[in-house]
Symmetry: C2
Subunit: 408 residues, 2 copies
């Protein structure tokens, strides 16, 4: 018999983040945890003593299967960063006080590289105060930018959604007999993994995209316009994928190049959107050709109606593996995926020291981008392909995908 | 044994327009047509003698099933309008000359209200010159704005896609613990049918959208801002659906209200986008709250990975019914859907004189919009619900939906 455990979700959601939550919940339950608590809105909510007893909200096997198919973080999320331990010990003392109150044996945090900072600091603090509470990170992010893991749960499903709708948009672009240039804007501020997934659209039944631009290399507008011009001469429909985060050589984002653009939101954050629109407008104005700018938008992280079975299974497994490791005494670690073989695809699960992962961004290696910076290599396509395989069909009720909603 | 037939696709595509093409092809074939030709890019391509023998491109039962799941118009489309007969008889003589060359018995055109103008003029001209070629219209449009038919093939699948992703976006909007206002922009220049479909998101597992604005009634920005302000006081996440075509009382589109906006494309066409962005920016600036503008964009007409079985079946049936009617001697007609009963949903198929349908737009009846113009009535929801039922699962190959591509 184990004591209680608590799990939280942090950072941007993925369409399979709740599969990891189920993995933690079910494995902890099966391995004899007394109670499985869920923090609401991550560690930020925990500081306000906002948590639930998950067994009151996941009431059946059906609920478990619905939760695997539910987009957005079931428990709510936060983007809260703990202060440095030396600057503010009160916050840490408060968290440990709450965890002691709840008789917590292990603390699980499902998140990306920013969220793993929380696991790092809490496990460091546990050593400082000689607490025996275990802290384990469960990886998730559509961006696939986590270090020390072959890939991240959430990426495969986002990649599958992006490649699928890119195929549909490519077909749609050929509908009329006049030229159309379509610019797709894909999520990814600093890492181009998701944008690279548009390359998977090419195949026996699809022309694929014509060019792909990742944020890993500087974007040269003049070269871009020259290449678009050439493509227009040989093709009726041209489809180009760009990361939202592409930048020109002087470091400015492409969407910042527009005059009079308001790119700061109410909080003073740069709104990282508009690269596709800027480029489409420029092409339209200079070449007098019809253009379309399509932002795949929020659906990239929440299209749970189109997930990868490989991804959703791995998302479950990393949750379960975190519980197994913690119950066997591990702490200050993150569960990682290790690709044993690419063909056939075989992936196992291990753990890594959280200090090697927190706050580090893994970008697309430059050797996986073609020399002229306009496409990705076959290696990159082979790397992504196994991650989008197979489906977990939605549970359709009255014509629509069914979700599990947290009611408080 | 019948002589040859020819079929074309016209206007904007839907995700099930090729199911109607298959309906024409298979039914004509089964009923003894010698050859089934397909015009490339509609009547515009036909005038350039661009056509294919469909049996060379649809080679198996598997191809038929793939084609039903293929987005965009397989044969290509056009937005070409025939001149008035009195202004230019040469065009008509050329078309009939080509049809005679091809030994055509019947001509089928899959399209919306603009495209039905082609059937009207060609069938009128056939009477003038005593031609025995039959001309039949096959309805399609995601906009559902065709007169004399209960609904149009293409609408149900677009509505299902919109309602499904609206549910996902609503869940996503609740992920953080601070207020977020999301404005969804849905297709529909003059008719609000598709925007109304967001109402189907509400149910046991979903809060639904908070307000819905259709182009059928004038949009009052002051009232809108007042209502948003009130919603913000009681809810953390607010989701509002607007038609791209909403207009203020003086007739200007909402997206035109922005200063310095470039809303004219390379052809001088108004780009009908930006209502959501305009409203989101205004709310952000005035209320200091985080906002998101999401355009569901082109995917509304091409998301063949998420179609309604009811819709795709009816799309097939209207194609087949057009062939049956033509072979029984009908001409100058459009196949229509007639709802016999709503609960249980029973729908039959009839025909209507094309003169009653061509160039007419059917809008959402005002009694189906709530009195304060911010939502739709239960009658409208009950009208749409049967049309989104059941699925036709995509044929997934190597992780992605498979399509049939026309190779020339």
């Amino acid at each position: 018999m184990h004591r209680n455990v608590i799990v939280g979700q942090s950072g941007g959601p993925t369409s399979v983040i709740n599969s990891s939550l189920v993995g933690v919940y079910k494995t902890a339950h099966d391995r004899g945890a007394k109670k499985v608590y869920g923090m609401l809105h991550g560690v930020k909510g925990l500081l306000d003593r906002q948590y639930v007893d998950l067994s009151e909200h996941i009431c059946s096997d059906l609920d478990i299967d619905l939760l695997k198919r539910t987009p957005s973080s079931f428990l709510g999320s936060c983007r809260y960063k703990l202060p440095e331990i030396r600057d503010n010990r009160e916050v840490y003392d408060k968290i440990f006080e709450i965890l002691e109150e709840l008789d917590i044996e292990a603390f699980f945090y499902i998140g990306g590289n920013d969220s793993m900072d929380t696991i790092k600091k809490l496990s460091d603090y546990a050593i400082l105060i000689s607490s025996d509470i275990k802290f384990m990170g469960v990886p998730k992010t559509i961006d696939n930018d986590l270090a020390c893991t072959d890939h991240t749960p959430g990426f495969g499903s986002a990649a599958k959604y992006i490649a699928s709708v890119t195929k549909e948009i490519i077909r749609d672009g050929l509908v009329y007999d006049y030229p159309v240039i379509t610019i797709l804007e894909i999520m990814g501020r600093n890492a181009g993994w998701l944008t690279a997934a548009t390359a998977l659209s090419a195949g026996e039944d699809c022309e694929g995209v014509d060019m792909i631009f990742l944020p890993e290399v500087a974007f040269d507008i003049d070269v871009f316009m020259e290449k678009v011009k050439k493509l227009c001469q040989s093709k009726r429909s041209v489809v180009i994928a760009v990361s939202e985060g592409i930048k020109v050589a002087d470091g400015r984002y492409v969407f910042e190049l527009k005059d009079h653009v308001e790119f700061v939101d109410a909080f003073g954050h740069k709104q990282l959107q508009g690269a596709a629109k800027f480029l489409a407008d420029k092409i339209g104005a200079e070449f007098g050709v019809k253009t379309r700018a399509i932002e795949l938008s929020t659906l990239q992280r929440c299209a749970s109606h189109m997930t990868s079975r490989v991804d959703i299974t791995e998302a479950f497994q990393v949750g379960g593996a975190a519980v197994k490791a913690a119950f066997e005494g591990d702490t200050g670690k993150v569960v990682v995926l290790e690709r044993v073989s690419e063909d056939p695809y075989i992936c196992t699960i291990g753990t890594q020291d959280v200090h090697k992962i927190a706050n580090i961004e893994k970008k697309v290696p430059l050797e996986w981008i073609t020399q002229d910076n306009t496409y990705v290599s076959d290696e990159l396509i082979h790397y992504i392909r196994p991650l989008i395989q197979a489906e977990l069909s939605p549970v359709m009720v009255d014509g629509l995908p069914r979700h599990l909603r947290l009611t408080l």
